[in-house]
Symmetry: C2
Subunit: 343 residues, 2 copies
């Protein structure tokens, strides 16, 4: 394949603010010229896009930790790409880089917007998974807020997902009993048989989630890493041990809701248990990414952290990949393959 820019740059734009679940028509494929990098700028060709739950929040026109995507703007997202033209010292044609470049074939990046990847670390898509935002989220969220101790019980929701799988494996490294929840028997088998979790719950077929948690967590729950929210989180909160720590990292079960779902008021459990709950965003930990990547990289080398990717081919299929990920139909870190590196 050629590393020369093509004449066209395809972009996926936000076409509407969806009410409820996004549809493919919530997005629009546009085609324009490949941009020219200016002084100190770099032209990057996308190789892999990441699609992640947080993007659903960015499609909503509400004040949050980051500004919303505007209509007809390119969808945001992390990209692993290849430098195809560089006016910036320190970056050369052929370099593999990571950046928030969005759902498009080509993007121009200004100084400071790209992180050069070590090409020896393979696959390069790891920079969007275990060694990227999801892995770092697991690392800092679990260790800083959760502070799991040897022998404690850790429950993680969306346990086969990009974040959850890493959370559970780090908790195993820390000597915990680890229980994961997921949405299919295959995922439950995977977290138990491949990733070494002690127990797994298929939340779709378990029936009474409380009874399933009681069976899986005979000593109660000390740490909960929540990616999902909803009735599962209610059932966990009813079972937290004294001094439990709850990391609220995601609430994917709620992201398509146009108004808040109702659930039982359960704050008295926090008094009973003197439990602590804290919301988590990875961007707050940017100063320590290198520490997290070093630890995660070593665990991968040592075979203590395994990963699984779910790759859909073609930029034009990014909306499909995003929608299936929101539905939990992916199995492993959801990626979109856009192009192969030239080398």
């Amino acid at each position: 394949m050629s590393s020369q820019p093509a004449n066209a740059n395809r972009q996926i734009l936000l076409a509407e603010r969806p009410s409820g679940e996004p549809r493919e028509s919530s997005f629009r494929l546009a085609e324009g010229p490949v941009p020219d990098p200016g002084e100190d700028e770099v032209l990057v060709r996308s190789l892999f896009l990441s699609v992640d739950p947080y993007m659903r929040g960015r499609m909503r026109d509400v004040k949050s930790y980051a500004p919303p995507i505007q209509l007809d703007e390119v969808m945001v997202g992390g990209v692993v790409g290849e430098v195809v033209r560089s006016n910036q010292s320190g970056l050369e044609t052929g370099d593999i880089v990571l950046g928030m470049l969005g759902w498009q074939d080509y993007a121009v990046a200004k100084p400071g917007q790209l992180h050069k990847l070590d090409p020896r670390i393979q696959p390069i898509s790891l920079a969007l998974g275990v060694l990227g935002m999801p892995g770092l989220t697991a690392y800092f969220g679990l260790l800083d807020i959760g502070q799991p101790k040897d022998g404690e019980t850790v429950v993680v929701s969306a346990a086969s997902g990009a974040v959850g799988a890493v959370v559970g494996q780090i908790a195993k490294i820390k000597g915990c009993r680890v229980v994961g929840t997921a949405g299919s028997d295959a995922k439950v088998e995977y977290i138990m048989n491949e990733l070494g979790f002690d127990a797994g719950i298929n939340y779709k077929t378990a029936g009474n989630l409380g009874a399933a948690l009681d069976a899986a967590c005979p000593a109660g729950i000390d740490v909960y890493f929540d990616n999902v929210g909803g009735p599962l989180t209610d059932a966990v909160i009813a079972r937290i041990n004294e001094r439990a720590r709850l990391i609220i990292c995601g609430q994917i079960s709620q992201y398509n809701a146009e108004k808040p779902e109702m659930g039982p008021r359960n704050l008295f459990h926090f008094i009973r248990a003197r439990a602590r709950m804290e919301g988590f965003l990875i961007f707050d930990h940017a100063a320590r990414y290198a520490e997290g990547q070093a630890a995660l990289g070593q665990w991968i080398v040592d075979g203590k952290i395994k990963y699984r990717e779910d790759v859909m081919d073609g930029l034009e299929n990014a909306p499909k990949a995003f929608i299936r990920m929101l539905r939990g139909e992916n199995f492993g870190k959801q990626l979109v393959h856009v192009a192969d590196p030239s080398a």
Copy 2:
């Protein structure tokens, strides 16, 4: 009045586990002989009883941080009393003491169950209020978990109550904008005019609680000290600032519910704000009570902390006092006056 034991000891027993709001018939007045203190034991005559929201939880037959009161057992509770007979060195007839002696005229205490009070600190009932469990709850809950900083906005619910009034006044000492909620205009006027709160909300007449909070907290909410729970807490959570701290100390709006009320799922606000919430129980801080009492005592002397008591007369009226306190009909720390000291 005489300090000699009478021939009868009246006791208020738990007669039923109430469903919903306790009634007077949930309790029963029994009369028995005044007990004899054994070796190393002390006979104490009750002077003041405390009635507190936590007792509603103890009437329920569920596992919690403390065992439930059994049917036909004496209601638990803190008491300020006078030693009327002592077989224990270090305690003498006439000493004023604090202990968890329950709703009765007389109790026998074993070594370690009584705390001798400094009779110079007046009124002696302060040991059940600002200088006792409620004041210490405010002190450690606000300062340890809430960590209020100069210029931040602190919201406290049940703000004219035994805990809330102290929370708000400590927050003022720390330089915060302090907003309290209470259930009558008189209470709101009291916290603003007497206690120096910056704003007050009568939650019963405010209508839209969110709009009332917006008006009272133009810079959002940094610290929330919750004694109440329910819709007010929902409205606060929707307005927490980045890095907000929430102390869950009580949920009095929920204590009579036989099954959990439903409320909006709102954990995404914790992610948005990277907020921290923690449940609080004063008993965890027993090793530091002296520190808290010293600070609170000094603030009282300096006029920086004011207090208000709502005293009902007669042991037989303890159930009435308890029921009205649960309804929020008390105005200030609810006490029951049982007898006067002999001196």
